[in-house]
Symmetry: C2
């Protein structure tokens, strides 16, 4: 059994909820890639897999996944929430191309150190650092020159 499966099952059990076929199927789709997703892309994914799961079920599952720490809301340029799963992912930040929407990830511990200091100075206890760099990627930059 994959670790995410085990972890989510026990999260559900602790609340008297059940790990159904639908929930398992949705999780499989989520963990099949490291791509960011939203309700719609996930629904499409499921269709491609020949699954007919209603969007309502997806909407209902997402808060549970967030609470259990399986996924989190990601940065994006879209006007609606997108998510990313948190297994096999170290904490990281994002470079977002404002033209094509491509997202690259990076990690920089020096920044976290600095931010720890900022939080202390301001009297905040940090939970999470979210860093999004809006930029233009090399491909789009070449395009623009034309």
């Amino acid at each position: 059994m994959r670790d995410w499966e085990e972890r989510f099952t026990s999260f559900l059990k602790a609340r008297g909820l059940t790990f159904t076929r639908e929930r398992k199927t949705i999780l499989e789709a989520i963990f099949a890639t490291h791509d960011h997703f939203d309700v719609d892309s996930l629904h499409e994914d499921l269709k491609k897999r020949g699954e007919r799961i209603s969007v309502a079920t997806i909407y209902r599952l997402i808060p549970l996944l967030v609470e259990s720490g399986m996924i989190r809301q990601a940065v994006s340029r879209a006007g609606h929430p997108t998510y990313e799963h948190l297994f096999g992912h170290l904490p990281h930040h994002h470079l977002i191309c404002v033209r094509c929407g491509r997202v690259a990830e990076f990690r920089e511990e020096r920044i976290e150190k600095i931010l720890d200091g900022v939080c202390e100075r301001e009297g905040f206890s940090p939970i999470e650092y979210r860093l999004g760099v809006r930029a233009v990627c090399s491909t789009c930059r070449r395009e623009e020159k034309k």
Copy 2:
């Protein structure tokens, strides 16, 4: 004439648009404080000032303000876009209390230096760095202890 007024007027003129009484009134409300705002809070503000401007007008103005660089979308914990104006504001980042929603601002040039390096490494041309620290503020931490 305030600089934001002049700047927005010329932006509009360059596009054959006009600086109307409504647009001026909305801008005044926006620049009257340094608080973040959304369409609804702005509409409320205008009501308090005795102005009856429809939300549609606000919705139509916002993209113009963003394009002209007068405001930008801000980080927030709300599920819909919020904005902040960019006059008399140095570039800065946000500490957001996840309990009470309080936002504190800070500035850290060391971080920008590091990010310049990251962008170069990844082949991105940076436009803007957005850093949001999700945290619990000192007041809320005291509350939680009880």
